[in-house]
């Protein structure tokens, strides 16, 4: 995802000399492509996120289109007030790239786990939030964020050696992308976990259980009508590597209530408070949260038999 991000940004910056990139002293083996090609539009602002976000606002107020890059928690939580007051209030074209979505950083520990990130940003005015699931969605999200007036946050995982999509899907901001259709259960998910859901669905298909899978590359804004339209099975499951609060389960549950959708079971797989002390790889923590493809499959079977 990081590679796709920088490839996409370099293409954009080649065509538009107003595009700048700021880094909070992170991006080793990622950002060099930009800093080499556009040295006068790249600044490593140092380990100083408050200043970075303020500088981004000042550049944007002067007509520049700014991308900032850091680990998600550092670039959101450390400078949240700069995002709120300086970037969002003034509706500036500042695009915040946060790396390390969910448990990407695994055993690095809680400081590096972005599991409250988009929840924190959800209420921020004018803010669009993108959580791509693979390189294809990453490219789409970066291009839309660039063209879209106003601030955005794009949550990336680190590396991504898979592609969920086999081709570029139709996508407009705020709409879910239905990747698989199925009559037995619906899984709505966002970010890298979509890949786990896809693996579960393929395995379930072998048992003649057909699961619908939808990715939410945008979690804000969200078109609640089109979200409701995909919730057409008796079993609904949401999965995101994020706290329940501000996570996608709240969006899906809202759609169910608002559109009075008749469902048999709703299961929300998300981060619980007790997991924050778990140390281990992304897969290890996902397993504890029943978010691996195997566990997702087992849960769907159990729900179908209940």
């Amino acid at each position: 995802m990081r590679k796709t991000f920088i490839d996409t940004l370099c293409k954009i910056a080649k065509d538009n000399e107003n595009v700048w990139l700021l880094s909070g002293d992170l991006g080793y083996n990622v950002l060099e492509q930009f800093s080499t090609q556009f040295p006068h539009r790249y600044i490593n602002t140092g380990v100083a996120e408050q200043n970075m976000m303020g500088v981004a606002a000042g550049l944007s107020l002067s007509g520049k289109i700014v991308f900032t890059y850091s680990i998600s928690n550092f670039t959101i939580m450390r400078c949240l007030e700069q995002i709120r007051n300086d970037v969002c209030y003034h509706n500036l074209n500042v695009n915040i790239i946060g790396v390390g979505g969910g448990f990407t950083y695994g055993s690095a520990g809680y400081s590096h786990h972005a599991v409250e990130d988009y929840g924190v940003l959800m209420p921020m005015p004018n803010m669009s939030i993108f959580v791509p699931c693979d390189p294809i969605e990453t490219k789409l999200c970066i291009e839309i964020a660039y063209e879209f007036e106003g601030p955005s946050y794009i949550r990336l995982e680190k590396n991504c050696n898979y592609s969920v999509h086999s081709s570029v899907p139709d996508y407009s901001i705020g709409h879910p992308i239905q990747i698989l259709e199925g009559k037995d259960a619906t899984i709505v998910c966002t970010g890298g976990i979509v890949n786990e859901a896809m693996k579960a669905a393929k395995s379930l298909a072998e048992l003649d259980i057909n699961v619908s899978i939808s990715s939410l590359p945008t979690v804000k804004p969200i078109d609640i009508t089109s979200l409701a339209a995909i919730l057409n099975t008796p079993i609904i499951m949401t999965i995101d590597e994020h706290s329940e609060f501000g996570g996608i389960s709240q969006l899906v549950n809202k759609a169910i209530i608002q559109y009075q959708i008749n469902v048999h079971e709703v299961v929300n797989l998300c981060i619980s408070d007790d997991i924050i002390y778990s140390i281990g790889s992304q897969d290890f923590i996902r397993h504890k949260l029943s978010m691996t493809s195997k566990k997702i499959k087992e849960t769907i079977i159990k729900l179908m038999n209940s």
């Binding site: 200043n51 606002a57 007051n85 003034h90």
Partner: protein, 271 residues
């Protein structure tokens, strides 16, 4: 050089700010009064700006980072023709255009909203960078309070500005020695302030923040040293110009009652 217009402007905006805070029962009149001369010199003599074209691309940029001093800032904008003077009459009231902390939304002449401390200088750094990158020769001025320098974000920017040689950036510190709950020296001492800026790679000058001549003299020399940002540390008096408000913490919070307002205006008019 005689600065009659500047002195008159300082008086006018003090009186506006007194009336505005009295009318709205708003706080921070002391913080407004301490920077009257600084704003008057900037707006009368220094800033290259056009009220008929507030978004003129090559204008100098001014940011009031101490956003709680909004009343006198709106007053100087009104006196210089950026906003109608009538707007001052319902400052901070329901459905007003002017909030009690600086609001830029739909207000001509204001670059950026402020109110939470420690935001102006990083934004000013971004503007200064953009100007240099675009080969523009406009300048960036940012006015900070002294208490505001407690905020770590400023020190990130102070490092950043000298590292990137932002010589088009001038920071002015309204050093009135009083912050939220008392004396700056007792709460979180800033001294030796000039030496701190110098150690961070800035050029600096210390002036009497109520001497129009000294302020003007320093602002016309910017940058003091090639390739360095400059800080002007302006020694000021909180509540300056109204005897019973000077150096009194009470006027960080209270607004004058009708008798106090009358007395305050009379003192300013007769100096």
């Amino acid at each position: 050089m005689i600065f009659n217009n500047t002195a008159t402007l300082a008086k006018q905006i003090r009186i506006h700010a007194l009336k505005m805070t009295a009318n709205a029962k708003a706080s921070h009149i002391g913080s407004c009064l301490s920077m009257a001369e600084l704003l008057a010199v900037l707006y009368e003599d220094i800033l290259r700006i056009k009220c008929e074209s507030p978004n003129w691309e090559d204008r100098d940029r001014f940011i009031l980072s101490k956003g709680h001093g909004a009343a006198i800032y709106y007053a100087v904008l009104a006196e210089k023709g950026f906003i109608p003077k009538e707007w001052l009459n319902n400052f901070a009231e329901n459905d007003s255009k002017l909030s009690a902390h600086v609001n830029s939304h739909n207000i001509p002449g204001i670059e950026v909203s402020s109110g939470s401390l420690g935001h102006g200088l990083p934004i000013a750094c971004g503007m200064a960078l953009a100007a240099i990158a675009s080969k523009k020769n406009y300048k960036i001025y940012v006015l900070l309070s002294d208490g505001e320098l407690d905020e770590g974000s400023n020190w990130e920017s102070i490092l950043f500005a000298s590292h990137h040689k932002l010589s088009n950036l001038t920071t002015i510190v309204d050093y009135n020695k009083t912050q939220g709950l008392g004396d700056v020296k007792k709460i979180l001492n800033l001294e030796p302030l000039e030496e701190k800026f110098k150690a961070f790679g800035w050029s600096s000058i210390r002036v009497d923040g109520h001497s129009i001549h000294e302020i003007h003299n320093s602002l016309t020399k910017m940058p003091l040293i090639k390739d360095k940002p400059t800080v002007i540390i302006a020694d000021t008096i909180k509540g300056k110009g109204v005897s019973f408000m000077e150096n009194s913490l009470k006027w960080h919070y209270c607004s004058p009652n009708p008798d106090e307002l009358k007395k305050a205006i009379s003192e300013i008019e007769n100096t």
